[in-house]
Amino acid sequence: MSALLEVKNLRKYFKNKAGMLHAVDDVTFTLEAGKTLGVVGESGCGKTTLGRTVLHVIEPTSGDISFEGSDISNPTKKELKHMREQMQLIFQDPYSSLNPRMSVSETIMEPLILQGKLKKAEIRAETKKLMDTVGLAERFENSYPHELDGGRRQRIGIARALSLQPKFIVCDEPVSALDVSIQAQIINLMLDLQEARGLAYMFVTHDLSVVKYISDDIMVMYLGQMVEKAASDELFRNPRHPYTQALLSAIPSLDVRNKKKRIIMQGEITSPINPKPGCRFMARCMYASEECGSPQILEEDAPNHFVACCKYKTMTQN
């Protein structure tokens, strides 16, 4: 079966005064229809840029992207418009991503109007259907975003993203700004929608327990690079990269009796501007040695388990 989305050697560099900022550096992955790829990493690791580059919201510096078998690396305007019907984005902050001067129904129907395929009455009916799908009561139709709470606002964002019946949605921290009880409601909604419509998600987040819950595969990013990728369960059971191990150990556990040992990393994320060729995690890694100074190659250590670290073999033997 061919994959829905294939991304090869994707790079995005930003030029600034200090030099080249390597936001996304050589990322390769595939995503099948109806599946979820989780992307995790700390702030500044390039996970948001990755999601936006895939959608051509930001133009990639280099690399290949193909969607349903056709190459979309350098789309024309027309291709881009067609592509955007298939690929949508849900934003992190439901407070700033909605136009405060548009009512709920206006926000949701805007993509349908722009698409220009449906008649007015059909658009109105479709909007009602969408509101119902995401669990927004009809009485909110003429409300404005400021009158609604975070959970409902996020539902508007989801309805809008769904309006053109896309196959693929990039979800950029869709639940981070919400309280836990509301967060659970939205996660369940997203899972239901995936089941009903066969959606593929790229789920960008820093919350590891959420990502484990929702993803089939997980990609761990560090300073623009993919350092590890595996099936969700496998990654949590057998984390190989020292960074993944530290990241997993830092999740606060709910177990009151057995306080787990946290791996406390020294220092903080280093600068992504003109990075040195070697392992970017080296400065914080407790296993670091001279070999880490040379570029790290992503190896498939077990089926579908990729890791970019020259030390992981000797480490697991210890």
Binding site: S181, A184, K212, S249, A250, L254, D255, M265, E268
Partner: protein, 324 residues
Amino acid sequence: MADNILEIHDLAVEYHTDDEIVYAVNGINLVVKQGETLGLVGETGAGKTTIARAVLRILQTPPAKVRSGQILFHDQDIMKLSESEMRKIRGNKIAMIFQDPMTALNPIETVGFQIAEAIGLHNKMSRMEAELKGCEMLEMVGIPMERFGEYPHQFSGGMKQRVVIAMALACNPELLLADEPTTALDVTIQAQVLEMMESLKEKLGTSVIMITHDLGVVASSCDSVAVTYAGEIVEYGTTLEVFEETAHPYTMGLFGSLPKVDSDEPRLRPIKGLMPDPTNLPSGCRFCERCPDAMDVCAERPPDMVEISTGHFVKCFKAGVSVE
């Protein structure tokens, strides 16, 4: 009584706006023992921060108004102190770590100046001595003292939060109010900061009120926990009791809403609905509308706080009954 550093009795705080009254905190009782870390958990708008601000007396009045209550710090009612007496306590004996390190620091003063300022205000020492102590504090939170003269924008988020912590701990406070100290930080940095707070607490013997919405943070750092909902404490007890003998439906709902790393449940069990409007609270149990086990009586009158086992309090009609 002597080993209780802080006691809050029947605290109620309202915010008065032009056309309505927001009932933020409604009759809360809390006790913090010497050297203890108390977790204050709840969602946005549950009144957690208002409680902390009331303890420090930094509520903005108006619109805030303390309707009733006593706050005893070492058996002395804070509410009755004059402003100058309060100033001697604030920042000195009781200190606060604010939620957002990006906005808690003054952008046009060096971090060193900001730390030394607090030390100089509360201790009789020269500028020089205060700065020296400030350097020490920076080192203690793991920032090299060469960075004393730098400005907040030159620090990363995690480091800024450590500066804020250094500032709060500068005068060796007896009670530390930590308002979501790690919420704005990445998990790895959160782990660093929690670890650091723990070791500082052991070294200095500080009592802490840890305000958070993250039950994971509570599990790893608190001795006891108070779960707040719509301005009330609905469950209160040792962390062990509350986590393992969870009795209030809201607390259970919170646990059900959390994705667990080591479970394979196909769907989360969220709490349905939303928190009640604080300007128009229901007359019965505040959680009634969202409660899966609600009975008729729940909508009629609010339940009392029941002690279901030693030191474990629950505000629910079902609590204690189902145990029998």
